[in-house]
């Protein structure tokens, strides 16, 4: 410490030049430790939740709620004793599920519907992604096609079933057509929303770094739009699954296989309410399972990597 700094008054310009000009922080190594110290002060390690904590936070609440709902349902059956053919109890539905399982109907229906839903969804991704990119980057096309696509997203895809049956007959083509009409607009719109939310600075960086159009699209725009795109995919899957069920309920017979929607329709024709409820639960369960197994982890990973997953570390 130069003595001047400890005196009462400092006269401007009274300091010796050599104490104040030039690098007085010392060697490069000194600077490095100084900087490393500041870095350590300004960053705090992220605290990851343990597996038990994750289970308690994520899995426990919904499971407890479902169990409580089933208990309430059973309680109502025992107390109010409603007509069993109009209000079956949880046990009747459970019996129905095991019956459907033992005949093999359930497995066939789940596999048929899931594979159709999956294939339909993948085709929708293959169409919706380039369409979304085109819409996002080409203003004229967006002005022309954008409202139409949003309209299609609002239109219930079940409305396409009669037309599809007339065009394609009772075939898988009908089912896929309906699924695509439901899912493609969601996926394309999700991607457009994702692209719109890209901070303009990131594109400028791409330009500055010398990216051409293709590199800009693949290395900057598409990765940057991932959160919106993933939301679109999630919604696209939901629309695929819903449209599929609608198509399977309405279009039964022909070369169309036996899916969950067909099973639902069959149970209705047999006035088998436990069977209907059992199928609804299975459809719901498959939907939740796909969400939990595929989309939720992908989304969590994506958002965590970008520091957007707010519940992590809090």
């Amino acid at each position: 410490m130069p003595p001047e700094t400890s005196t009462d008054t400092i006269v401007p310009g009274s300091l010796e030049p050599d104490t104040t000009t030039g690098s007085t922080t010392g060697s490069r190594a000194d600077f490095r430790t100084l900087e490393a110290g500041l870095d350590a002060l300004q960053t705090s390690p992220l605290v990851e939740k343990g597996p038990w904590r994750r289970f308690a936070d994520g899995v426990l609440p919904p499971v407890v709620l479902v169990l409580a709902l089933i208990a309430a349902w059973q309680f109502y059956i025992v107390i109010a004793r409603p007509r069993p053919d109009l209000t079956p109890g949880p046990l009747d539905v459970l019996t129905s599920i095991t019956d459907l399982w033992s005949t093999g109907h359930l497995q066939t229906a789940v596999v048929t519907s899931l594979s159709r839903g999956g294939i339909g969804f993948l085709i929708a991704v293959a169409i919706g992604t380039p369409l979304g990119l085109l819409l996002a980057e080409w203003r004229l096309l967006r002005r022309a096609l954008g409202p139409l696509l949003s309209g299609l997203q609002v239109l219930p895809s079940v409305a396409w079933v009669p037309a599809a049956i007339l065009w394609f007959g009772l075939s898988d083509a009908t089912v896929y057509f309906v699924v695509l009409m439901g899912a493609v607009p969601s996926i394309a719109n999700g991607l457009v929303a994702g692209v719109d939310q890209i901070p303009p600075q990131l594109r400028r960086v791409g330009t500055v770094l010398g990216a051409n159009r293709v590199e800009m699209a693949t290395l900057v725009v598409l990765p940057a739009a991932m959160p919106g795109y993933l939301a679109g995919l999630k919604q696209g899957w939901a629309f695929s699954w819903r449209s599929l069920m609608a198509a399977e309920i309405i279009a039964v017979g022909g070369s169309i296989g036996f899916g969950l929607g067909s099973m639902l329709q069959q149970s209705r024709e047999l006035a088998d309410l436990p069977g209907v409820l059992a199928t609804i639960l299975v459809i719901l369960f498959v939907g939740i399972l796909v969400e939990l197994v595929l989309f939720a982890p992908a989304e969590r990973r994506l958002l965590r990597r970008r520091g957007l997953y707010l519940t992590a570390g809090r």
Binding site: P12, G22, V205
Partner: protein, 282 residues
């Protein structure tokens, strides 16, 4: 070590004298003065207005920057200093006049680090190398060297959100160095940082500048920062943006922001800056 000597050139030609500052008697445009000297960036009669009837943002800017020079563009909000930088970067186009960057394109650093949030620090640098055409096998090693240059080799695998603001800007600096361009344009890169971090980054940047010999154009609204870093400080007026004054600081090694020379120069520049701002009243 001798004190920093400063030369002020009044771009308006009105001239002014202040104690401790030797004023150059030469009031001719810099472009003419430096016509036969090697130039890195040359701006000729540049004007910019947004839209046909919009206000004039930049008015007749003439500027010559030599290779390896550290130039600070200083001005209040709305003086068009960022616009000038963007035009030099090729991100915007001038309405009139020309900009020539001798080495071709330039590297740019922005106020926000603008790192790609889905990539780690190292991958961010590697992407710049990839777009420069560096073969795949050499990218990782070069990226680590560049990160080491800004003392961030340990943070190579961290993602931007795990880094502090200062660290992010250092990654951004490493990324702009990865472009391997002779000219580095910086748009208020340290404006959002706290004073301690900014002070360290000044030292970091100065060292990188001395080691790599880059030509740096540094836009700021912080007078002390300009006085601390620049070899030349250009003061711009607002609405329309014009270069009003220029200070040349004889560079005799690193300066510190606390030093009396920097303070004296800051006061001097601030007085001019305030005068320019007062003009906009009523």
């Amino acid at each position: 070590m001798s004190a920093v000597s400063v030369t002020e050139r009044d771009r308006t030609g009105s001239g002014s004298h202040r104690p401790g500052i030797s004023v150059s008697t030469d009031t001719a445009p810099a472009a003419v003065v430096a016509a036969d000297v090697e130039t890195a960036i040359r701006v000729d009669g540049l004007s910019k207005r947004f839209g046909k009837a919009g206000p004039v943002v930049l008015d007749n800017i003439n500027l010559t920057i030599r290779p390896g020079e550290f130039v600070c563009l200083l001005g209040a909000s709305g003086c068009g200093k960022s616009t000038l930088l963007n035009i030099i970067a090729g991100l915007e186009h001038p309405s009139e006049g020309t900009v020539t960057v001798a080495s071709g394109k330039s590297a740019v650093m922005f106020q926000e680090s603008a790192l790609f949030p889905w990539l780690t620090a190292s991958r961010n640098v590697e992407l710049a190398l990839k777009l420069r055409g560096v073969p795949h096998g050499r990218r990782r090693g070069e990226a680590l060297e560049l990160l080491d240059l800004v003392n961030l080799a340990d943070a190579a695998n961290k993602r931007p959100h795990e880094l502090s603001g200062g660290m992010r800007q250092r990654v951004a600096l490493a990324r702009s160095l990865a472009q391997d361009r002779k000219v580095l344009l910086m748009d208020e890169p340290f404006a959002a940082l706290d004073a301690i971090t900014r002070d360290l980054l000044h030292e970091e940047l100065e060292r990188v500048w001395r080691e790599t010999g880059r030509t740096i154009v540094f836009v700021t609204h912080n007078v002390r920062e300009a006085a601390r870093l620049g070899q030349r400080v250009l003061l711009m007026s607002s609405r329309p943006g014009r270069i009003r004054n220029e200070w040349r600081i004889v560079d005799d090694g690193p300066r510190r922001i606390e030093s009396p020379e920097v303070s004296r120069l800051s006061i001097e520049i601030t007085n001019h800056l305030r005068e320019e701002i007062r003009r906009n009243a009523a």
